[in-house]
């Protein structure tokens, strides 16, 4: 939570709105209850929430842009910036914590040269720690895209990252 986000005209290129419009078409008379599902689908389609898609939601639903922005910045799932090709989710749950997750996190930062919740310059990886993946028996564990990597060691983590 409490993401620092900058909406910068130059770094936020407009995207083709076709996919966004198709999603909005499914909601004939979208109400505010549909906002989060709409945002989730747009993020699925584009990988993030481009600024002009948010403006399109406002135009179609009359939900104020300020309100949309408030929702987007509240939930950790949403991103206003393009994300990397691969998402690394490192579990920071209690079981992982006592089994060495802090060391794993340090290693990832060191190998990728990015901080938590950042994307590498080449847009290959987005690195985000998550509260718990619910797979405590694999602790310490991370997920890259949909794949789990469990019982991590610092060395194993480096090898895995380099295999991408």
């Amino acid at each position: 939570m409490h993401k620092t986000v900058t909406l910068n005209e130059e770094s936020a290129p407009a995207v083709d709105l076709a996919k966004c419009r198709a999603i909005l078409l499914k909601y004939n008379s979208a109400t505010s209850a549909d906002l989060i599902p709409v945002l989730q689908q747009i993020q699925d389609a584009y990988g993030y929430l481009p600024q002009n898609t948010l403006e399109e939601i406002t135009a179609r639903t009359r939900i104020p842009l300020s309100k949309i922005y408030g929702v987007v910045t509240f939930y950790s799932q949403f991103s206003l910036e393009p994300r990397g090709k691969h998402t690394i989710k490192v579990c920071t749950g209690t079981a992982c914590h006592i089994k060495g997750a802090p060391e794993i996190k340090k290693k990832i930062t060191e190998v990728l040269q990015v901080d938590e919740r950042q994307t590498t310059q080449d847009y290959k990886f987005t690195y985000e720690p998550v509260a718990c993946l619910g797979t405590c028996f694999l602790a310490p564990v991370m997920m890259i895209n949909d794949r789990y990597y469990g019982k991590l060691t610092v060395e194993k983590t480096e090898t895995i990252l380099k295999s991408y």
């Binding site: 209850a33 989060i36 989730q40 405590c136 694999l138």
Partner: protein, 564 residues
């Protein structure tokens, strides 16, 4: 599937399914939810390919199930009717399992559960299973959650059909009150009373919400129930909806649980096509529809007013209560919110009666509780025991104790809102009240075992960091209180602590607890209070020593092979 038009149809349907049942068929149940992370799907594929290759389709059935509990041995499978349990199965083991175990009846030793050098091939003999009492998890791991027929074969929807055809709303509520079931989400409020409030509330529409926003780090029982037995939750919701007079239900699930969402969607679709959800269910004038809402990653949304705000499409921030959701909840209408595990308890109460249910557990806490056992414990996994079971039984008899030469130090219960229970309370019978007395909470049932290499100040700091990060920022005591406590704890762990820090922490903890708006802030200091209570010496040591104190970190590579 044809719609069932009345309760008799349901019985007939189950009978027809029973008549198709082939007792000579070998059933291999493979966990493909939690165990998926370690290659369970590949194992399934290998089995199916081998069965085809050896033309055994009429003899062996492969069932994709939910969690079987003993996650430490993943990927796991059970072979029925023999009752054999195999763990750490890989694709390459598959031909041997078929040729030796299934065709010749031989046991493959290396795949069996082992403790103290002794191999145990049968589920019933493994202490991890034999000491549990599975009520809520009875189907989990035994049935295919994507097939409603398997649930119906296990007397599924029978409780609901009984309620629908023979009980009034008040009778249902009374039965719930009689059973003594208390909310499994953490606070332990009596479910029957909650239902009564909503039933009595005035409103043209009433909502029923299932809280599946399992956010506590280290808790994964709701995930397992939704993935492994989604119909039990739907049936529990149907009974609840009937009791309070709701036509509209919502299941709010965490975004991090894609398999749970997938299985729920399938379950809802199948229940609809059988006429168990929708209009005029089983020919009655009761109608109920169910939707899924996915969370977007915010721990505070487990709090009921924040959850409602999130469903309404707003920032998930809590609001002061009263008014309680029971009178003014979703869209200002009376709303009943129960947790996943709570709903999953409901069908069996009506199937076996509240008297039967009440006989399980302790004076104040009835029934069973599911714990997610993790951390420095041998048998990591999902455990269901009667309320009143001691921590020692859970950690040592079921969990197999602490691996390696390490000693048990504490069990963290209740996640960021809970506390650490030290070794001196190992024989405490666990229920809502006793856990509270020793400074933890039942919470959703996360139980993290910590060995003597764990720094308790670091654990307090860890949870405070979590709460601070997840604080929504609406109320000052939580927003600033958690931040200041985190600053102090970080300072202490870095060896820069001051003498007065402990008193300051206690004071901040008290204020944050008393003045915060919702449960998150009110309980955020619990891990600090409980670690100061039992491990004050560790705080003092760090403060007195000064200089940077390296945190004890254990490398997973140095752990015993049984947990590696």
């Amino acid at each position: 599937m044809e719609k069932l038009k009345n309760p008799d149809d349901l019985i007939k349907y189950r009978k027809s399914l029973e008549s198709e049942h082939r007792p000579d068929m070998v059933r291999i149940c493979i966990c493909t939810t939690g165990c998926r992370a370690l290659g369970a799907e590949e194992v399934c594929r290998a089995f199916r390919a081998e069965i085809e290759k050896q033309s055994l389709a009429g003899k062996i059935e492969i069932v994709d199930t939910g969690c079987q509990g003993l996650c430490a041995r993943a990927p796991v499978l059970t072979i029925e009717p023999m009752g054999i349990f195999y763990g750490r199965v890989t694709e390459t083991d598959v031909p041997e399992i078929i040729s030796r175990t299934i065709l010749k009846g031989e046991i493959i030793e290396r795949l069996c559960y082992a403790e103290a050098g002794k191999r145990t091939p049968y589920t019933r003999d493994i202490p991890f299973y034999s000491k549990q009492k599975k009520i809520v998890l009875k189907n989990c791991g035994n049935i295919d959650p994507k097939n409603i027929s398997e649930y119906i074969l296990k007397e599924g929807y029978l409780a609901f059909s009984k309620v629908l055809s023979g009980m009034t709303q008040d009778q249902v509520i009374n039965e719930m009150k009689n059973s003594g079931l208390r909310g499994r989400g953490g606070a332990g409020f009596p479910t029957g009373n909650k239902w009564e409030f909503v039933k009595k509330a005035q409103g043209d529409i009433k909502y029923l919400i299932c809280n599946g926003d399992e956010g506590d780090p280290g808790a994964f029982m709701d995930r397992a129930v939704l993935e492994g037995d989604p119909h039990s939750v739907i049936e529990g919701m149907l009974i609840g909806a009937y009791a309070i007079g709701s036509r509209k239900g919502i299941v709010y699930v965490r975004a991090e649980y894609p398999i749970a969402v997938e299985h729920l969607k399938i379950a809802i679709k199948q229940a609809k096509s059988l006429g168990l959800l929708g209009d005029n269910i089983l020919g009655s004038n009761f109608s109920f529809d169910l939707d899924i809402k996915m969370g977007a990653g915010a721990f505070v949304c487990g709090e009921e007013t924040a959850l409602i705000a999130s469903i309404e499409g707003k920032r998930g921030m809590p609001r002061p209560r009263p008014p309680f959701p029971a009178t003014s909840g979703l869209w200002g209408k009376p709303t009943n919110i129960n947790n996943v595990e709570t709903f999953a308890n409901v069908p069996i109460i009506f199937l076996k009666g509240s008297a039967w249910y009440k006989a399980i557990g302790t004076e104040s806490s009835k029934g069973t509780k599911i714990f997610a056992l993790a951390g420095n414990v041998k048998n990591t996994g999902l455990v269901e025991v009667p309320m009143g079971t001691s921590l020692r039984e859970i950690v040592f008899d079921i969990g197999g104790g602490v691996p390696g030469r390490k000693k048990f130090k504490a069990a963290q219960m209740g996640g960021p809102s809970g506390g650490c229970v030290p070794a001196q309370h190992l024989d405490l019978p666990i229920d809502y009240e006793t856990v509270k007395e020793v400074g933890a909470i039942m919470g959703s049932g996360g139980l993290i075992v910590m060995d003597d290499s764990t720094s308790m100040v670091d654990i307090a700091r860890y949870f405070m960091e979590f709460c601070q990060d997840e604080s929504c920022g609406k109320c000052v005591p939580c927003r600033i209180g958690t931040k200041r406590m985190l600053d102090i704890l970080t300072r202490i762990t870095k060896g820069q602590g001051k003498k007065e820090d402990i008193d300051l922490l206690k004071e901040l903890a008290e204020v944050t607890k008393m003045a915060s708006l919702c449960g998150l802030g009110q309980t955020a200091a619990n891990p600090v209070i409980s670690t100061i209570r039992y491990y004050l010496n560790e705080y003092e040591e760090l403060i007195n020593k000064k200089g940077v104190q390296p945190l004890p970190q254990q490398s997973p590579a140095t752990q015993s092979p049984c947990c590696a």
